[in-house]
């Protein structure tokens, strides 16, 4: 494990009081670093919406299939089990987990994943969501990796709950809802940019994120400005691959 990256990550995850803090950016740091630091190939973060759903807020890759796999766990899967119990849930071999999760296990297999680990985002009695780690090969995560993964999730949880203040649960709920709505804005922006540039939504997300970094703006602010039309997102970073599909009623899948 890269010790330097690990300590850098803890600094990033506790540095939530800086101006311009953005929950979505923050949670993307958590999923990206999980993949870089741990022996896993994908990571996703689900937060509990008081409406009664688990919702994907960040993922190490925005590939549609992966996002769907995370979101599927609103109904069943390790993330849901982990959220409900507040305890880590592991499946070393998803191929053998079809009775436990009849919908989730085959879908994960089709997406190329053989093992999964879910870790709770928890502070004392309050579970606010779960971190989901996928591996391409069967086998449990090494104990050291699980400890580091849980530490990352813990630090992120504490930072989230302490953001602004710990006065009451109102603050967390306000912030959670803002984050969930930001996530919707980002999806809307992904669609608009994908259509404008003729790229897929995963590429559109990367472009949005790169642009936010280069211009030092919050991803959710940039996404909103783009959807509202006050930001055009044209220029060197997005000028490539401008290959619009012909404007016919039906377009065959390519």
């Amino acid at each position: 494990m890269d010790g330097e990256l690990l300590s850098e990550t803890f600094v990033e995850l506790t540095d939530t009081l800086v101006a311009g803090f953005d929950v979505i950016d923050f949670l993307h740091v958590l999923t990206d670093r999980s993949v870089q630091l741990l022996d896993v190939s994908a990571a996703g973060l689900l937060l509990a919406d008081p409406r009664g759903e688990l919702r994907v807020v960040a993922a190490s890759s925005e590939a549609a299939r992966l996002l769907e796999l995370f979101q599927l766990q609103n109904d069943q899967g390790p993330c849901l089990d982990c959220f409900r119990s507040g305890r880590p849930v592991a499946a070393a071999d998803l191929a053998a987990a079809a009775t436990r999760w009849p919908r989730f296990a085959p879908a994960a297999g089709q997406a190329g994943f053989a093992a999964v680990q879910a870790l709770p985002m928890r502070l004392r009695e309050q579970v606010i969501g779960a971190l989901n780690l996928f591996r391409a090969d069967p086998g449990v995560l090494a104990p050291a990796d699980i400890r580091v993964g849980q530490a990352l999730a813990d630090v992120a949880t504490i930072s989230l709950l302490h953001e602004r203040s710990m006065r009451h649960s109102d603050t967390l709920n306000e912030q959670l809802q803002t984050a969930l709505n930001s996530r919707v804005i980002i999806e809307q922006a992904k669609g608009k940019l994908a259509e404008r540039l003729g790229v897929d939504t995963d590429q559109a997300f990367s472009l949005l994120r790169d642009r936010a970094r280069v211009s030092n703006r919050r991803l959710s602010d940039l996404a909103r400005a783009f959807v509202d039309g006050t930001e055009t997102l044209t220029g060197p970073a997005t000028a490539r691959s401008r290959q619009r599909l012909p404007d016919t009623g039906q377009v065959p899948a390519s």
């Binding site: 409406r51 009664g52 688990l54 809802q177 930001s182 809307q188 669609g191 959807v227």
Partner: protein, 251 residues
């Protein structure tokens, strides 16, 4: 986690419309939320359309006063919810934080008889149509389940206001409500949002209009919103701008 909350909320809103004897509207959500989450009153402010922000509905005089105070003062949980893009939950207007944050509103609201105010933006990503405000004449936070219900009432009011703002689309999507509105959008939620974004480009319209057109198309072709969105995101289907009466719609 329960998937039945949206269905239950739609049923309460529809029952309120039936009692009133009219077509389901955002005002029905505003009335029904009061009993459902145990608050004293509620109001709706429409915003973001062609008109200036205005009070659409209030269930009692105190609610009306609270809404108007915030519109005139430009201060309070309502303006903050609009600016912040998330709910503002002020469970005790007497506490130091609330008084410091809204010096004029906190004291005026207290005199009017409100002890707690909760404001929910009526929004769906970058689509924003107003706010729903709730007040109590006693202090204290909403419980977890009351908060969940209030959020779903706000989602319901958002859809109803959006439709009201676009009469044509309102006609096309007349099947919305208890039967027409899919309760559990969670799994395909991202695709619906992405498809909405794609339609802004395909149709050359704003994001709210794009969403209404997506729903109208789904209704007209008797398709599930999530399936239609999936086809659009997979680029199996494109929608065309409204055909121009003179030419075939190319600019």
């Amino acid at each position: 986690m329960t998937g039945s909350r949206p269905g239950r909320v739609w049923a309460l809103v529809a029952a309120q419309a039936a009692r009133r004897g009219g077509r389901v509207s955002a005002a029905d959500a505003c009335v029904a939320v009061v009993a459902a989450v145990e608050v004293t009153g509620a109001w709706l402010i429409a915003a973001g359309g062609a008109e200036a922000d205005h009070l659409m509905w209030a269930t009692d005089e105190v609610s009306e006063l609270l809404a108007e105070l915030q519109l005139t003062l430009g201060e309070g949980p309502g303006p903050d919810a609009m600016a912040y893009g998330g709910p503002v939950l002020a469970s005790d207007l007497d506490d130091v934080e609330a008084v410091r944050r809204w010096p004029l509103f906190a004291s005026a609201a207290g005199q009017a008889g409100a002890a707690a105010v909760f404001v929910f933006p009526l929004q769906m990503g970058a689509i924003g149509v107003g706010v729903m405000g709730l007040y109590r004449d006693w202090p204290g936070p909403l419980s977890g389940s009351q908060l969940g219900d209030a959020l779903v009432f706000a989602d319901t009011a958002t859809l109803l206001l959006l439709e009201a703002q676009d009469r044509a689309a309102g006609e096309a999507a007349a099947g919305s409500g208890p039967g027409g509105q899919p309760a559990g959008l969670a799994v395909h939620r991202a695709e619906i949002d992405q498809a909405t974004g794609m339609l802004t480009e395909q149709l050359g319209v704003g994001i709210a209009e794009a969403f209404l057109r997506l729903r109208a198309y789904a209704y007209a072709h008797d398709r599930r919103l999530s399936d239609l969105a999936g086809d659009i995101v997979a680029r199996h289907l494109r929608l065309r701008p409204d055909p121009d009466p003179c030419e075939d719609g190319q600019t």
